[in-house]
Symmetry: C2
Subunit: 384 residues, 2 copies
């Protein structure tokens, strides 16, 4: 395996009823800004549980953070943070609310000019407002990592940043929050977590059996538990296992010491930016194309995925690779996520637009940095 550094100090508070512990985990005397999204927390009882837990704190609220959180919206929250002299952020929601709140936390402390630079120029985040989360949608892993993805509507850009300064102090994971989620969001979460694992696993072998087996453990659990959650959203055990899988999928552990390939995410972000397709759905579209186009470079790991996760044992290497891609696609479709561009009415011209955007960026994608505009075209054409 490669040399690596790994550190993840986020405190996880997991289980039913644990939202009651939020208040005890916020530093005494904090002035708290609760951030949230479209308002589902008012319907499912989460808001009431949070409020009951933080009784006694001085609290301000900021709602309306969108899926693929908008820079424009978040900058309004930054103004509020400054005006109200907020000292603690409490995000209550899914990955978009948490990601957005990470940006608010960093931008409110940014003193070197335009906070947009944090995203566009990867400007150093020197400080951030402390932040805790109450997760209501297992998917992105944002509750236990240092990354965030933000969209600027004005310029159709979807950019990310990472900083240990925006790691949540704590995250409360109550599986019962899943009970009231729409099927669509659960399906998105299953696919998002699945692809996160794949992007840290499906590269080339570096003799790292712990990382490989942990990755396969998460994939197998998602394949097993995801459909149970969809079949019965109030199956607490299935909800809990799905929730813990999604967190473990992207907290840095399985990616420590191994090559990674985030091409699927990078290409998928463009589909969201141009067509507003749900993040997870863009991953389900792009991943099979990446597997197909990079089948030689990824051969050993695709065969391992096939064998250990899907039980694909028979046939030539090429047949097993095809079968492994097919099984992966079938899994996405079985949870209700379509995997082709026409399923989302994406016109073929979008392929040109995306490729020309990557031409300007110069850097290449993939574990060997060899996926440029030409390869991206092949990947997307595979999805027509």
């Amino acid at each position: 395996m490669y040399n690596f550094e790994y550190q993840n100090p986020v405190k996880i508070i997991f289980g039913k009823g644990e939202i009651a512990k939020v208040g005890a985990n916020i530093p005494a005397g904090s002035k708290v800004l609760i951030t949230y999204g479209g308002g589902s927390i008012f319907k499912n009882g989460v808001y009431d549980q949070v409020k009951a837990s933080i009784k006694g704190f001085d609290v301000v609220e900021f709602g309306g953070i969108e899926p693929n959180p908008h820079y424009e919206t978040l900058m309004k929250a930054v103004e509020l943070v400054k005006k109200e002299k907020i000292t603690f952020l409490l995000s209550v929601g899914g990955g978009s609310v948490i990601d957005g709140t990470k940006f608010i936390a960093a931008a409110a402390c940014y003193k070197n000019g335009d906070p947009w630079d944090i995203l566009s120029k990867r400007a150093l985040v020197e400080d951030a407002i402390p932040h805790g989360t109450v997760l209501t949608l297992p998917a992105t892993g944002s509750e236990m990592n240092s990354g965030a993805v933000i969209t600027r509507v004005e310029t159709t850009e979807k950019l990310s940043f990472m900083s240990p300064k925006v790691l949540p102090l704590f995250s409360v994971l109550d599986p019962e929050t899943i009970f009231s989620l729409p099927d669509k969001q659960i399906a998105n979460g299953i696919v998002d977590a699945f692809v996160h694992v794949i992007e840290q696993y499906l590269t080339f072998p570096v003799n790292a059996p712990i990382q490989d087996r942990f990755a396969e453990s998460i994939l197998k659990t998602l394949i097993e538990e995801g459909p149970k959650v969809l079949a019965n959203k109030t199956d607490y055990d299935a909800a809990a296992n799905f929730m813990w899988s999604a967190t473990m999928a992207l907290n840095g552990l399985i990616g420590a010491g191994v090559p990674q390939d985030w091409a699927t995410h990078m290409i998928g972000h463009e589909l969201t930016a141009y067509h507003g397709i749900d993040h997870a759905r863009t991953l389900a579209i792009v991943l099979p194309g990446v597997m197909h186009i990079n089948r030689n470079q990824k051969k050993d790991k695709i065969l391992q995925l096939g064998e250990r996760v899907w039980g694909v044992l028979d046939g030539t290497d090429d047949e097993r690779i095809n079968e492994t891609i097919k099984r992966t696609v079938e899994f996405f479709e079985s949870v209700g996520i379509q995997t082709k561009l026409p399923d989302y009415s994406v016109p073929t011209e979008t392929i040109d637009t995306i490729c020309s955007r990557f031409e300007k960026r110069r850097y290449k994608l993939g574990e060997k940095a060899n996926i440029g505009p030409e390869e991206i075209r092949l990947i997307l054409e595979n999805r027509l």
Copy 2:
């Protein structure tokens, strides 16, 4: 799965050559006490690498920390820490040196009387001197957890304490430190890590597939990589995989949200206290007895261990349980660790002594707190 809280902020710095980063991870201006054991670090080059990395720091040294570190020795280090106004502890060694240094860190800051109370009365550790480690022997997992086990020679007691205050700030894991270890220590490390996993896994099912599969991942990797290390100590990949397995075996992750059974450790400690048997060897003696005596309570998980880790698929439940115990014993013996009391010349009277000690303690052991003196007698008699 059960509700749980999980937090592990230790920074892991993993790989060959990484000892060079020690200095950069110690707070500037620290007065450093290097702690070490019998002096192997002078022969294998680790001491020189550490000293080169911390050039510029004011450094004091304290060597001679024994296997099963002695309270009596550690209290001398506490005096030195106070006299020299040490502000940072750097332990360079295996689990005993790291455990001992955790106790030094806590005892030097203990203001409520006799520091022995930290062990004997589980007195609260309110503060501790910051501590970093350079691991030279994969086994105990102490480099990434908050626990320590200390022996008081005077009273033949081996007691433990846990506190987040003694979590290392960082731990450097360089697999090349394994290259010069004696076979005996490597074998001990393999068995120690293996049993750590078993004690968080082999209880009863609570529908926690991520924890189960992660545990099985570590077991399979130890079974695969351990013998490779013994066959060729300079096989870097095998050393690295063994080292990472031992850390993951006891950093809290696989035990989060599941029942645990530390009976093997608790009984094993007594064998070390009375007969000075290496810690790992006591585990190899006791575990098969625990599996045998608790075969009904642990039935589902023993069958799962047999099936998923050892490939035991055929026969009645009872036959499969016997075969799983047999395979586990054979694994220990294959790495050179004997598993019966007579192998270590332990007289049968020791069984009486240990049972009467547990009679005085009143609490019972095991995942259901139902292993008392009578059951401990059966477990040990099974090992004659």
